[in-house]
């Protein structure tokens, strides 16, 4: 399966990066696994998508209300606004953040922070099912998400585990494996654990 090129890195650090979408409003779903390139050609950095947003490309620019009644009496809303203002595709930009959860070097996946962040302007690909299955076989990346100090860390991890479980040959077994790992990591925080387990079982 060919992995789809969906955007490029526009801001990067060791722990997270921002992707600018090639196509307006075309962002991968929250919690998807994506990977970004690096000028160190051997290196490819993996991350989980969160905080998808669309706004003005121009710093300080702000979208304005455009729908409603036109001077000829016709009304237009929602998708019609984009048809009526084709220039919006060129002045708005869809972006999202990705939390770094590991990297790949020489075909080996490692669930630690990479030696280098993704390189700004390098391509970002949406991982295909084979890659997601391969990356999520082991649960070592859970720790990085839970400790990321993100307000939506639990939501992000729960969604990523559900995506991963759906691809496994034995879904039930994977959920049990993930549940045990979560119980170990959150043994001192019963409330968080309960919310996460409920996400996996609902």
């Amino acid at each position: 399966m060919t992995e789809q090129r969906i955007g490029e890195v526009i801001e990067a650090s060791s722990t997270q990066w921002t992707t600018g979408a090639y196509e307006l409003l075309n962002a991968p779903p929250f919690g998807s696994l994506i990977k970004a390139g690096c000028h160190d050609n051997d290196l490819c950095i993996y991350g989980l998508v969160y905080d998808i947003r669309t706004g003005s490309r121009d710093l300080g620019g702000k979208a304005m209300v455009r729908g409603g009644r036109r001077y000829d009496g016709s009304e237009f809303y929602d998708g019609q606004i984009y048809s009526e203002h084709p220039d919006l595709a060129a002045v708005l930009q869809t972006e999202w953040s990705a939390l770094v959860i590991g990297y790949e070097r020489a075909g080996r996946i490692i669930h630690y922070l990479p030696p280098q962040p993704p390189t700004v302007h390098y391509s970002v690909h949406l991982c295909d099912d084979d890659t997601v299955e391969r990356f999520t076989q082991h649960c070592d990346f859970f720790r990085m998400v839970l400790h990321a100090n993100l307000p939506i860390a639990d939501e992000l991890l729960g969604t990523a585990i559900r995506h991963a479980a759906a691809l496994q040959a034995n879904r039930r077994e994977y959920e049990l494996y993930a549940g045990r790992e979560l119980a170990r990591l959150l043994r001192d925080d019963y409330d968080r654990l309960r919310v996460l387990v409920r996400m996996l079982t609902s």
Binding site: Y82, D87, A90, V91
Partner: protein, 392 residues
């Protein structure tokens, strides 16, 4: 020391009162001017001829009506599909304090297609000039003119016109949707008026031949949009009607202006044009337009776009085709509405072209780095460096 708002507040209050009085006086003058224009409107051909014969003698700018002066037209039927090509430009002028003499012209080019196949393309084209041939204009007698200030501005204006023609030609190769080419500001190159005749011709001939003539050859309705216009040319007709012989009535002060402080925006701003309506067409009788624009002479009408009065200019070969004048009328109004009062395509072209202060700083740093890499002396002036930072 901060501004003393107690004192300024008093002065602003005084100004507000004075302006109200002036506005009341202006309303009376506008009413008087309209009465004259309405009365003489059927004789528009006489006044067109009279204005063309006297534009050089007149102390006021004049226009020649191309139809009855008080004609007005409702908004024509809106074209369901149209494409708009728009260009705007900006420049980084030559700065003698810099380490190297150069200037940059940045053009913003915009194509927006509306209707069944909506589409947009926005991009900018920067061009850096640093060769001796580019920095000095030489006439046939060997006189040289440095490309700086007004000349860089003139070059930018010229390039905008040429770029618009090329953009329109590219669009026509790919699309059959009705196309309108629009520029920001006036098509009359007033800024060239004060230049040396050879320099003026150098810029104007390129603008006319490679810009307007190319647009004409490509059969493209071409116009420009002026927001908040200050021109006094239609009011000039009223002035001429009041004083047709242009004889001195007061030797000490010269010809007395019957409508002091009145321009066309004030004249048409009295509610004469309803929302979406345009005025009659007029030919501008500015000297450069009459004497040097030949068959591209600029005509104009005023358009009430709802939020303000705009002046729409077009060359003679556009003004002579009523279906094109209608198309431009509808497109200018539609664009202003889509853009919240100002044509969206022109706003986008400006956004593409504008060179911000931060861009200027980066541009200068890049030049200094390039000189350093080329092992050239980075001899920027100490005065410039001193201005760049406050030493305390």
């Amino acid at each position: 020391m901060p501004l003393d708002f107690n004192q300024v507040g008093q002065q602003i209050k005084q100004m507000g009162g004075d302006l109200r009085q002036t506005a009341n006086h202006h309303d009376q003058l506008v009413a008087h001017a309209w009465a004259k224009l309405e009365e003489q409107s059927p004789r528009w051909e006489h006044w067109a001829r009279h204005a063309e014969e006297n534009y050089l003698r007149s102390p006021w700018l004049l226009a020649a009506p191309a139809e009855p002066i008080i004609n007005r037209y409702q908004l024509p039927k809106f074209p369901p599909n149209y494409c708009l090509a728009a260009v705007d430009g900006s420049q980084i002028d030559l700065d003698r304090h810099w380490a190297v003499e150069c200037y940059l012209i940045n053009l913003g080019l915009v194509t927006i297609q509306y209707g069944q196949q909506p589409y947009s393309k926005l991009h900018s084209v920067p061009a850096l000039h640093y060769n001796d041939q580019e920095l000095l204009l030489r006439d046939k007698d060997g006189r040289s003119y440095k490309m700086a200030g007004a000349l860089v501005h003139a070059e930018r204006d010229t390039r905008e016109g040429i770029a618009l023609a090329r953009l329109a030609q590219e669009i026509l190769e790919q699309s059959t949707t009705p196309l309108v080419a629009m520029q920001d500001g006036t098509l009359i190159r007033w800024s060239l008026s004060g230049l040396d005749p050879w320099v003026r011709a150098h810029f104007l001939q390129r603008y006319l031949d490679e810009g307007l003539a190319a647009l004409r050859a490509a059969d493209v309705p071409t116009c420009s949009y002026i927001s908040h216009p200050k021109a006094p040319e239609v009011t000039g007709i009223a002035r001429l009607i009041v004083n047709p012989t242009l004889n001195n009535t007061n030797k000490a002060e010269g010809l007395v202006d019957p409508y002091p402080g009145i321009n066309d925006t004030k004249l048409f701003g009295n509610g004469w044009l309803g929302d979406g309506e345009r005025s009659a067409l007029f030919k501008s009788l500015s000297k450069i337009n009459v004497e040097e624009y030949r068959d591209h002479a600029i005509y104009f009408f005023y358009l009430n776009v709802g939020s303000e009065l705009a002046r729409i200019e077009m060359p003679e070969w556009v003004a002579q085709r009523p279906e094109w004048v209608d198309l431009i009328h509808a497109v200018a109004y539609d664009q202003a509405h889509r853009g919240g009062g100002y044509p969206v395509a022109l706003a986008r072209a400006h956004e593409q072209a504008v060179v911000r202060e931060s861009d200027r700083r980066v541009f200068r740093q890049m030049i200094e780095q390039a000189l350093w890499h080329a092992r050239l002396n980075n001899g920027s002036s100490l005065k410039q460096d001193a201005k760049a930072q406050v030493r305390v």
